[in-house]
C-alpha cells in the first residue's frame, strides 16, 4: 500500500446546545492512502457528509485530528489553514447551485488561481482552457458562456475543473452524481476515474448509492448514526459484509435485473434520533443479533481479515466470507 495521505483519528462533530446536542459524527477514524479512492456510504443522517465537511473544516470538529500529509489540520488556523486547504478540494451534490449563474465558465475555473495569484495573463488562460478541455467542455465554444446556460451535468464538469485548478492532492466528492440522470451520471463517474489516474488524485467519495460507491472505490467505509460500522476493500465488503447493518443495506439495494433474486430480509423500522442515540452499539435497536453486551459496550473497530475492519461484537461468520467468491 502507498503511504498514508489523509489520517483521521477519533473525529467527532456535535451540533446544538447542551441538552439538545446532536452527535452527528462520533469518534470516526480511518486512513486514506495516496492514490486511493475511499467510498463513504450510509443513509441520510449517518454523518457521511458532516465527516467530509469536518475534514475541510467547513464545520468545526468537536474532537479528534485530521492529518493531511503529516500536518494536523485541526491545529492549523488562519492563513496556514487556508494554504493547506488548497491541497484538498471539495465538490458538492447540487452542481447548479455550486456555481454563480452570472459568471462565465472560464472565470469560475480561474477563480482559485486568482485567489492565490498562481497564474496571470497567457498562462492563466492556458491552464483554464486545458482544465475545461479535460472535463469535456470545449473552452473555445463554451468557455465564455455563463454558468446558467449549462445543464446539471455540464455544471458538475465545471465544478470538477474548478476543484482541479489548484492541483489538489485530495478530492472530496459529496454526492456528486446523485442529482444527475443515469446516462450523465456514468459520464461523470468515468471522468472522475480518468482524472484520478491523470492527476494521481486521492479521493474520498461520499454517496448513498451503493452501486455508485462500489464502482468508483478501492475501499469502502459504511457509516450508521455517526459511527463507522465497517471498512474494507470494496469487492470483499460487498461480497461478504461482516457487519449486520452492511448486510441489510446491501440486501435493500435494487439490482436492475428481473432475474435477480430478492435478496435477504428488509430491515424494519428507521434509524433512531441522533439526539438520543442508543447506548453501546448504535445499531443494536434494529439488529437481529443484538445481545446484552451490545447495549453496555461500544464495539471498537477490529480487524476480521487483512484490511477489513468491523465494529461489531458478533460479526457475521468468517466461514461464509471465505466461501464467498473473490
Amino acid at each position: 500500500m502507498n503511504e498514508t495521505l489523509l489520517s483521521v483519528r477519533d473525529l467527532s462533530v456535535a451540533f446544538g446546545p447542551r441538552g439538545r446536542r446532536v452527535s452527528a459524527v462520533d469518534a470516526v477514524s480511518f486512513d486514506v492512502a495516496a492514490g486511493e479512492t475511499l467510498g463513504l456510504v450510509g443513509e441520510s443522517g449517518c454523518g457521511k457528509s458532516t465527516t467530509g465537511r469536518a475534514l475541510m473544516r467547513i464545520v468545526e470538529p468537536t474532537a479528534g485530528t485530521v492529518t493531511l500529509e503529516g500536518v494536523d489540520l485541526t491545529a492549523a488556523s488562519g492563513r496556514a489553514l487556508r494554504e493547506r486547504r488548497t491541497a484538498m478540494q471539495m465538490i458538492f451534490q447540487d452542481p447548479i447551485s455550486s456555481l454563480n449563474p452570472r459568471r462565465r465558465a472560464r472565470d469560475i475555473v480561474a477563480e482559485p488561481l486568482d485567489c492565490w495569484n498562481r497564474a496571470t495573463g497567457e498562462e492563466r488562460r492556458r491552464i483554464v482552457d486545458e482544465l475545461l478541455a479535460q472535463v469535456g467542455i470545449d473552452p473555445v465554444a463554451y468557455g465564455g458562456r455563463y454558468a446558467r446556460q449549462f445543464s446539471g451535468g455540464q455544471c458538475q464538469r465545471i465544478s470538477i475543473a474548478r476543484a482541479l485548478a489548484m492541483r489538489p492532492k485530495l478530492l472530496i466528492c459529496d454526492e456528486v452524481v446523485s442529482a444527475l440522470d443515469v446516462s450523465v451520471q456514468a459520464q461523470i463517474l468515468n471522468l472522475l476515474e480518468d482524472l484520478k489516474a491523470e492527476y494521481g488524485l486521492t479521493m474520498l467519495f461520499i454517496a448513498h448509492d451503493l452501486a455508485v460507491v462500489k464502482n468508483i472505490s478501492d475501499r469502502v467505509a459504511v457509516m450508521y448514526l455517526g459511527r463507522l460500522c465497517e471498512i474494507g476493500p470494496a469487492d470483499t465488503l460487498y461480497d461478504a459484509p461482516a457487519h449486520p447493518y452492511t448486510k441489510f443495506l446491501l440486501g435493500a439495494a435494487l439490482e436492475a435485473d428481473p432475474e435477480a433474486p430478492r435478496r435477504g430480509e428488509v430491515l424494519e423500522g428507521e434509524p433512531p434520533s441522533p439526539l438520543n442515540p442508543p447506548s453501546g452499539c448504535r445499531f443494536r435497536t434494529r439488529c437481529p443479533f443484538a445481545a446484552e453486551r451490545c447495549a453496555t459496550e461500544t464495539p471498537a473497530l477490529r480487524e476480521v481479515a487483512p484490511g477489513h475492519q468491523v465494529a461489531c461484537h458478533f460479526p457475521l461468520a468468517i466461514a461464509r466470507r471465505e466461501g464467498a467468491p473473490a
Binding site: D181, A186, E255
Partner: protein
C-alpha cells in the same frame, strides 16, 4: 397478461405553450393496462414520464396545455372530461402517489384528518366511521401506533412515514388504478425497500392495477410485469419486463441499462456512458430523438422518425431503424 383491460391509452399527446414556443412533452403514446397488472414507465428527466402520468390522471393546469388522443379508464374518457367528472374518478377509480411526500401533504392538518377527507367527501362516511377507517388504513400501510399517529402533523414524521401516509390517502377510496410517480426517490435505500414492498403487498391485496413511474431501472426490474421505455416524450420500446431487460432491441434501452452501475459488478467496472444528454424538447431533431447520441445512427435515423414495430415476442415493440440483433442463446 390479464384478459380485462382497465386502462386504454391511445395516441396521447400533451403539449405546453411556453414563451419559447410549443413543446411536446408526450408524443402519441399508446398502451393498455390490464386489471391487476403492474406497468413500469421508465425514462430520464424530460422523457415525459411524469407528464404522461398526470395526463392519465387528468391533472393539468388549465392554461397553455393541450391534450389530444384518448385515455379510457374503465370505459370513461379522461381527456376532455369536465372537472366535475374528473373529481368522480379521482380517489375512487384512480389515485396518485407523488415523489415528494412533504409537499403532497398539508403541513398544518393532522395526517389522520387528511385521510378522513377522502373518506368523508368521496365515500360519504360519517365522522366516526371515517376515523375508524383512517386508523385501519394507517395500520395497513405499516404505521406503528396508528391511533396515536392519527393526530400527528406531517412534520413530525420521517420521509418514509410520510410516504406511507400518502399511500394510505391514495388507498382510501379503494381505487382500481394506483399511479406512483417516483414514489421512493429521495428515500433511503432501506426505506425504499420497505415502501416498494408495501406497494407490492397492497396492490396484490386490493387487486389494483399499478403504474410505477421511475428513472431507476432497479425499482421496476422485479416489481412490474411490463415496461414502457420513454425518450423525449415518445415510447421507444415496450414489452414484458423480462423481454425489455433481456431482449431489448432499441439502442437507447441498452444504453440506459449499461450506463447504470450495478452492485454485482466488481469495483472500477468501466461504465458504458451515453455521450451527450437528453434533448431539448423545444428543439427536437427531425428523425429519431436519440439519433444524435446513438452509435448506430444513419442518415435515415436523422431524417425519418421510426414508429413502433413488433419485435417477435408478444407485446414487445420497439421504434428503431437499426435495432440490436436478437440475442443468440441466453441473454447476458
Amino acid at each position: 397478461m390479464s384478459d380485462e383491460t382497465l386502462l386504454r391509452v391511445r395516441e396521447v399527446t400533451t403539449t405546453f405553450d411556453t414563451p419559447q414556443g410549443r413543446l411536446t412533452a408526450v408524443d402519441a403514446v399508446s398502451f393498455d393496462l390490464g386489471a391487476h397488472e403492474s406497468l413500469g414507465v421508465v425514462g430520464e428527466s424530460g422523457s415525459g414520464k411524469t407528464v404522461l402520468s398526470r395526463t392519465i390522471m387528468g391533472l393539468q393546469p388549465r392554461r397553455g396545455v393541450s391534450v389530444t388522443g384518448s385515455v379510457l379508464l374503465n370505459g370513461i374518457e379522461v381527456v376532455g372530461a369536465t372537472e366535475e367528472a374528473k373529481r368522480e374518478l379521482w380517489g375512487r377509480q384512480v389515485a396518485m402517489v407523488f415523489q415528494d411526500p412533504m409537499t403532497s401533504l398539508n403541513p398544518v392538518v393532522k395526517v389522520g384528518k387528511q385521510i378522513d377527507e377522502v373518506l368523508r367527501v368521496r365515500l360519504g362516511m360519517d365522522r366516526a366511521a371515517a376515523r375508524a377507517r383512517a386508523i385501519e388504513l394507517l395500520e395497513m400501510v405499516g404505521i406503528p401506533a396508528a391511533a396515536t399517529r392519527y393526530d400527528a402533523y406531517p412534520h413530525s414524521l420521517s420521509g418514509g412515514m410520510r410516504q406511507r401516509v400518502v399511500i394510505a390517502i391514495a388507498l382510501a377510496g379503494s381505487p382500481q388504478l394506483l399511479l406512483a410517480d417516483e414514489p421512493t426517490t429521495g428515500l433511503d435505500v432501506t426505506i425504499q425497500a420497505q415502501i416498494l414492498n408495501l406497494l407490492d403487498e397492497v396492490q396484490g391485496r386490493l387487486g389494483m392495477s399499478m403504474i410505477l413511474v421511475t428513472h431507476d431501472l432497479g425499482v421496476v426490474a422485479t416489481r412490474t410485469s411490463r415496461l414502457v421505455v420513454m425518450y423525449a416524450g415518445r415510447v421507444v420500446e415496450t414489452g414484458t419486463t423480462r423481454d425489455v431487460f433481456a431482449r431489448h432491441r432499441m439502442p437507447y434501452t441498452r444504453a440506459l441499462l449499461e450506463s447504470s452501475p450495478k452492485v454485482s459488478n466488481p469495483s472500477h467496472t468501466r461504465l458504458a456512458a451515453i455521450p451527450g444528454r437528453p434533448p431539448n424538447l423545444l428543439d427536437l431533431p427531425a428523425g429519431c430523438a436519440f439519433a444524435p447520441r446513438c452509435a448506430y445512427a444513419t442518415d435515415r435515423c436523422r431524417n425519418e422518425r421510426p414508429v413502433l414495430e413488433p419485435a417477435g415476442e408478444p407485446g414487445h415493440l420497439f421504434a428503431c431503424f437499426n435495432p440490436l440483433s436478437e440475442p443468440v442463446g441466453s441473454p447476458t
